[in-house]
């Protein structure tokens, strides 16, 4: 496949999932870093950066989840999953939920206009980052990034 052949890339079924997944991962991990820095430095601008990172990360999980399910349905014809594939599906779903939870916690604070983020968000974000990393690790295995060619 030519890397700039848009039509072929678009019709490559599950290839989009492998591409799109990088957006929520990068945005969420950057958001977590911003939020931890905001907590330690007490800088409002960093908290705002974290909020927008979480917002975009949460939104980008939607096409990722859709393309992941399409990959399952198209490439594997919806057959019962097991092993690494099942683990990837379960952890991916948990990751998506946790990313949304992280954003909702920030969104609530902004709406309440109190301006104090709940302390409990930090362990939730740390756990979410770990689950995202594990999901990505399994996804990397599945996609064959370590394989030849």
């Amino acid at each position: 496949m030519h890397p700039f052949d848009f039509k072929e890339a678009l019709l490559a079924k599950h290839a989009q999932h492998v591409v799109l997944i990088h957006f929520p991962i990068a945005l969420f991990l950057a958001g977590v870093a911003f939020d931890f820095l905001a907590h330690w430095t007490k800088r409002q601008s960093l908290a705002a950066a974290a909020y927008f990172n979480f917002l975009l990360a949460a939104l980008s999980t939607i096409p990722v989840v859709i393309t992941g399910i399409l990959a399952w349905q198209w490439q594997l014809e919806g057959q019962k999953l097991k092993g690494i594939l099942l683990q990837h599906l379960v952890l991916g779903s948990i990751s998506s939920v946790l990313i949304w939870v992280a954003w909702i916690l920030h969104e609530r604070t902004r709406r309440n206009k109190i301006g104090i983020l709940p302390w409990a968000r930090l362990p939730i974000e740390a756990i979410a980052a770990a689950v995202v990393a594990l999901t990505g690790h399994l996804g990397g295995f599945l996609s064959g990034v370590n394989g030849p060619g």
């Binding site: 490559a12 092993g83 295995f141 394989g147 030849p148």
Partner: protein, 120 residues
């Protein structure tokens, strides 16, 4: 003396004929009970080995996943001639090729992994 030589020669001749008949019968039995042909393809390190397999009609090809990653074996033809479920490590999939032809296939999880079976 002449008689014993003649008798001995007769036994030898009969022995040769019987041995020939026996050998002929043996070869007939062997061809009648010939085992169906089988071939193996190993899936390892994100590739099929051998990538191109040539086999006679009626051969049963067995793919074995030796990788740590799940793979599939799916015919490229439309409609699909054969299609495996997801094969985890050490799981196998077999298909018997009843017709001559070239059968390309791939792994639907890793479409870059391709192979073909040439049935003659």
């Amino acid at each position: 003396m002449r008689k014993s030589v003649f008798t001995g020669g007769l036994f030898v001749a009969v022995g040769i004929v019987m041995a020939g008949l026996g050998a002929g019968t043996g070869s007939f039995v062997a061809s009648a009970q010939q085992k169906p042909s089988t071939a193996d393809v190993k899936i390892d390190n994100f590739s099929f080995g051998p990538a191109a397999l040539t086999a006679p009609v009626g051969t049963t090809v067995t793919w074995t996943n030796r990788d740590d990653i799940p793979h599939t074996v799916v015919s490229t033809d439309d409609p699909k001639v054969f299609k495996s479920k997801v094969l985890d490590t050490d799981e196998k999939f077999s298909f018997t090729f009843a017709k001559a032809g070239t059968y390309p296939y791939f792994c639907s999880i890793h479409p870059k992994m391709t192979g073909k079976v040439i049935v003659q």
